[in-house]
Symmetry: C2
Subunit: 160 residues, 2 copies
């Protein structure tokens, strides 16, 4: 599914709920679609959208992201660095992908497999809890990073 098609689909989702796909919203979605791999903060989205739509206001980006999160079109996340990050969530996936966060190089890799179906069934059985979503992040170190044992380029933090 290419970007135009995806936009079209989202447009239908919006209209179905009585919202409009304004130029601002469209540009925001384009940025999200083009950077599907990253986990952009509102500020980052803002700066990227601005490049193609300079009149846009930061508040609009926030409002758009909030709306999209409300409709489960994007996923709002928190990695503990004090900024909310946003991720497209295509084909109404019930589940998030997982993350590997390397303490050395700061890399944030995504794992698309869903490893938790068994656990979720167990939760339903043993805890009477019906899972609708989950979040699974691993912190650690890549072997390759452990070798060249230097502090992280981004944060400057030492390997712990």
């Amino acid at each position: 599914m290419n970007i135009a098609e995806q936009l079209d689909k989202i447009n239908r989702q919006l209209t179905a709920k009585g919202y409009k796909l304004t130029p601002q919203r469209e540009m925001t979605l384009e940025v999200l679609l083009e950077n599907e791999k990253d986990h952009l903060s509102a500020e980052e989205v803002f700066m990227l959208v601005r490049q193609r739509f300079p009149e846009i206001g930061l508040a609009t980006v926030y409002r758009t992201l909030e709306l999209l999160a409300e409709l489960s079109i994007v996923q709002k996340m928190n990695f503990g660095d004090g900024v909310a990050r946003f991720d497209l969530r295509m084909d109404g996936q019930a589940h998030m992908h997982h993350h590997l966060i390397c303490k050395v190089c700061g890399a944030l890799e995504e794992i698309k497999d869903d490893w938790l179906t068994d656990l979720e069934q167990r939760l339903a059985r043993e805890y009477g809890f019906q899972v609708t979503d989950h979040r699974l992040d691993f912190t650690g170190v890549y072997q390759t990073c452990r070798n060249n044992n230097e502090p992280c380029k981004r944060t400057g933090k030492a390997v712990s």
Copy 2:
């Protein structure tokens, strides 16, 4: 292990790194120990500590929590409500407990089992990634809550 013993242990951890267990830090730790089940925000910790040590400043609580997180004595977490929450992490557990977050009643249940050892071995093998920590939260609904289908008492949010 009772509270006095735990404090003692933490005291040794602090001294080992050249930090002191000041009265403020001790009171903060007591509050954390007594509320091990909750996930308190800095503000909540502050208000509880204040009851027994009224002179304490909010900044001190923040600094203490940050220090304790640095030393892996507490775990700093984010559940997406815009506040950082803190949890004691006894016996240097390598791993966090997991969470069940009910969308109806807002309950936040802890699951102490570690269900991810298999996955972590797989990550080491297949991705060359050595896990040091992880985070696993499930969002969903308790069966019992689904029945009385009312919005959440805390947040007022409707069941989705």
